[in-house]
Symmetry: C2
Subunit: 310 residues, 2 copies
Amino acid sequence: MTELRRATADQTAFRDELLARGLFLDSGVPGLYGRGATFEDIRLRFDALVTKAASADDPEAMRFPPLLPRRTLEASGYLHSFPHLAGSVFAFEGSEDDALLQEERADRHEDWSEFQRMTELALVPAACYPVYPAVAARGPLPPGGLVVDAGGAWVFRHEPSEDPARLQMFHQREIVRLGAPEEVLAWRDTWSQRGLSLLRSLGLAAERDRAADPFFGRGGRMLAANQRNQELKFELLVQIAGSEPTAVSSFNYHQEHFAAKYGLTLADGNTAHTACLGFGQERIVLALLHTHGLEPASWPAAVRDELWPG
Amino acid sequence: MTELRRATADQTAFRDELLARGLFLDSGVPGLYGRGATFEDIRLRFDALVTKAASADDPEAMRFPPLLPRRTLEASGYLHSFPHLAGSVFAFEGSEDDALLQEERADRHEDWSEFQRMTELALVPAACYPVYPAVAARGPLPPGGLVVDAGGAWVFRHEPSEDPARLQMFHQREIVRLGAPEEVLAWRDTWSQRGLSLLRSLGLAAERDRAADPFFGRGGRMLAANQRNQELKFELLVQIAGSEPTAVSSFNYHQEHFAAKYGLTLADGNTAHTACLGFGQERIVLALLHTHGLEPASWPAAVRDELWPG
């Protein structure tokens, strides 16, 4: 079984307060929570602020389910970089007698995995993954490229943790830029400033830093060092609970990575470049609750005016 | 492999039109689609109409992820009634060498299931399933019981189909009533009328009928007959494509089923009863597109005024 990540005392205390106030609803599985009305309202208000900030880009809206084709995951390179975080969907295959055996085992909370077979589906690991093949299927990008708003979508990370800011299933608000290298890079840098302003306007002491992904295994350290040296990833960090600030947003320049995998080309036939930005919506709600208190009615007026205008 | 359900010629023609206009975005897996901006706008407008209709009940909003604890699924009885529709989540467990082998297999689109182990998580089969244990955890219901609005949540059904109205992953807008038998039954019947009015106000020729769930196996026929005879399930049906009308909404009286599984009691200590209603949001959008045409700007003014007021 995958090991449970332990949390600091103030992280578990924060989680317990969230549960006691019904902001999170316990499921019994670490990192999987329901959301109460207040939590969800804050999340959607923040989502609306991102939509407003993104309107300058005139993005095309696309929405995707929390599952993607297994083939898309296989082609993406995710299983190379993050095999430990991926999730695959299995389903029943067998006779009526098998179904009966499966049910008997399940009733006793015993192992019923032998009756389950891998399906054509997997869990979406990042909200931008379904975007690339969907855009590639249309043929070359239009001149000037494209901005796609993938909305606030559910993504999965298999990392059970006691820290309420490390969820197995959460909303990532992702926007993707596809185009020529200089267009894509300029967009990524504009947005990391825009994101910083957005978080600071909500009273969060956000800081920007170079970052790297949690690549798997021995080879992962080199991948992470390369990513950091080439400044391919920036994160915005806010202090929630714990000893260090938590990343609540990231801005990633993929160069040709996804475009080459899925055959994304520019109008002139060259391979496109891509970048994406992601806001971890639950982490931002948690940062707001941790910074301003668990009762939004008592938050500073300037913050309330941003989130609940008019 | 689970067999692909074939569709009628007009169903596949409808699907092809949806894809050609970007209302659905193809993923390559039957029953799994992205949604274009127009499709999603209609869905959310319909969602807002349900919120308005539900305000009479003063519901408590709760939101849940598309995954639930495997234990909750095991305790629910779903694997008894619908083993063929359930999905479970698997994830990697193994050494760095195993990860390498898994990746090599995945790169070639070969079988990498041997490196995946069952996790503590499963896909939500109906949006009301996480509600019962969350409410039960609080202790007995308040006098008069409770109405919970679980929102428009993603649910999974493992039934790959060519019919665009039979999706593997879709939004179910669910509201749940928990209380004394007569309260619950009255609520269910009020809502089946309310739902009928709502759909008809959108120009849909909806009809109400007794119904039964697609129970698994030989014993399933008897379960379905009982359900129908006891009038435990009603559906609202609308003609989309195909030879018969499609269920777009259902109203289900569970009696003590869920309350007994999860220990839901009334204020007086007796076992509660529950009922739920679900709107299949994508099916309702498809019914609107099929009835009024693929261009919402040309829909009848009365329908537009309902969905896009003011």
